[in-house]
């Protein structure tokens, strides 16, 4: 049962998401045959819940951060022969309906990287402070990476196989979002943004990044750039 083209793999990084993971995965499995979960060393039952839904459940023995989990999932999907790799957050903020629009341009050979954008689409109830933070991140990315995007911190993305092979997330934590944009620029592969919906719930907000943490992400990113 799958709406998405064969060869499409969806990677879901998950850390302590036992409350939402099973529902998210069941929804995903309705549209995609190959759903990879990377349990990033959760302390709760995330892994067991994931295994109930998909055979492709991976487990980090120690928590390494979302960037590391994404990279693990992408590498695994490529090893399994994926031709398109999508990323999807485990907290239920994305809609599976949006996936088809992400994969379609890649299957059509129009581009190699498709990024979801909440500001092109409908973001439901973004709290003002979070909106400000995200906008600052976008501005920062435009200045530093010189890539014009409307949303750089969106967990919904799709990569063609050759793009996914170029993905090398070195930052284990959250600076990987900006790192991915640098990959977009450095590979010179054609990319596009498509509108996606984000459902802000109390749960996804609590699980998300705090505003203060953006400074740590910024620090991570700057140090990575300086030392690489």
């Amino acid at each position: 049962m799958s709406d998405l083209p064969a060869g499409t793999w969806v990677v879901v990084p998950a850390y302590n998401e036992e409350r939402t993971i099973e529902r998210v995965l069941r929804e995903l499995c309705l549209v995609c045959d190959h759903v990879v979960v990377v349990d990033d060393g959760s302390a709760d039952q995330t892994y067991a819940a994931a295994l109930r839904v998909t055979p492709y459940a991976l487990r980090h023995a120690i928590n390494r951060g979302q960037g590391a989990a994404l990279q693990t999932g992408i590498e695994f999907a490529l090893l399994q022969g994926a031709s398109v790799v999508c990323t999807f957050d485990a907290d239920g903020q994305h809609c599976t309906d949006d996936l088809a629009a992400l994969v379609q341009p890649i299957m059509a050979g129009e581009c190699d990287i498709v990024l979801g954008s909440r500001f092109l689409g409908r973001a439901e109830d973004i709290p003002p402070l979070r909106r400000l933070c995200l906008k600052a991140g976008i501005l920062f990315t435009r200045m530093v990476s010189r890539v014009r995007l409307t949303d750089v911190h969106n967990g919904l993305r799709a990569f063609s196989r050759r793009a996914a092979e170029r993905v090398e997330i070195n930052n284990d934590r959250m600076a990987h979002a900006s790192e991915l944009i640098d990959i977009v620029r450095d590979t010179g592969l054609p990319f596009r943004e498509v509108p996606v919906r984000i459902r802000y719930t109390d749960y996804s907000l609590a699980k998300g990044q705090s505003v203060l943490n953006s400074f740590r992400i910024l620090f991570d990113y700057v140090v990575d750039r300086v030392t690489s």
Binding site: V38, G41, Q45, Y47, A48, L51, R52, P55, Y56, A57, L58, R59, H60, A61, I62, R64, G65, A68, Q71, T72, E75, F76, L79, N170, D172, V223, T227
Partner: protein
């Protein structure tokens, strides 16, 4: 107590520094310490030796550089050295984290690939056979 015009502190310190310097030379000669590292540490030890045996030297250097006293100069240099040291430790820590991540990734991918190749042994409602974490094993009859 006064030997060769030096106080007790000077005497003990200069002998100790000279001993470490000699040890360093031996280690470099044996190849246990790389030449570049050895040279850097040798320079630090030599500077310490000079500063202890000729206390005026730091003051003279400080005045030359426009810093008030030799002790001030020493504390400034210490602060800089500590910052550099922290930075180096931080870089090592990052490299270590990176290695741990690569290891964790290798483990995760390998064990998943292995479980998959064992065929449909993974039940729809339970963990893999080897997973002994509490609550993972399927309830009887499920």
């Amino acid at each position: 107590m006064n030997v060769l015009g030096m106080g007790l502190f000077q005497l003990v310190m200069s002998v100790a520094i000279a001993a470490v310097l000699a040890l360093l030379l031996v280690l470099v000669a044996r190849g246990a310490v790389r030449r570049r590292e050895g040279a850097a540490w040798g320079a630090v030890l030599l500077a310490a030796f000079v500063a202890v045996v000729w206390p005026d030297s730091t003051s003279r250097l400080a005045r030359f550089l426009g810093v008030g006293r030799g002790a001030d100069l020493a504390s400034y240099l210490t602060a800089v050295a500590m910052l550099v040291g922290f930075w180096m430790v931080y870089l090592r820590l990052r490299a270590l984290r990176r290695d741990v991540t690569l290891l964790v990734r290798r483990l995760a991918i390998d064990s998943a690939a292995q479980t998959l190749s064992q065929g449909p042994a993974r039940t729809a409602d339970g963990g893999p056979p080897g997973d002994r974490r509490p609550g993972v094993s399927p309830a009887p009859g499920s």
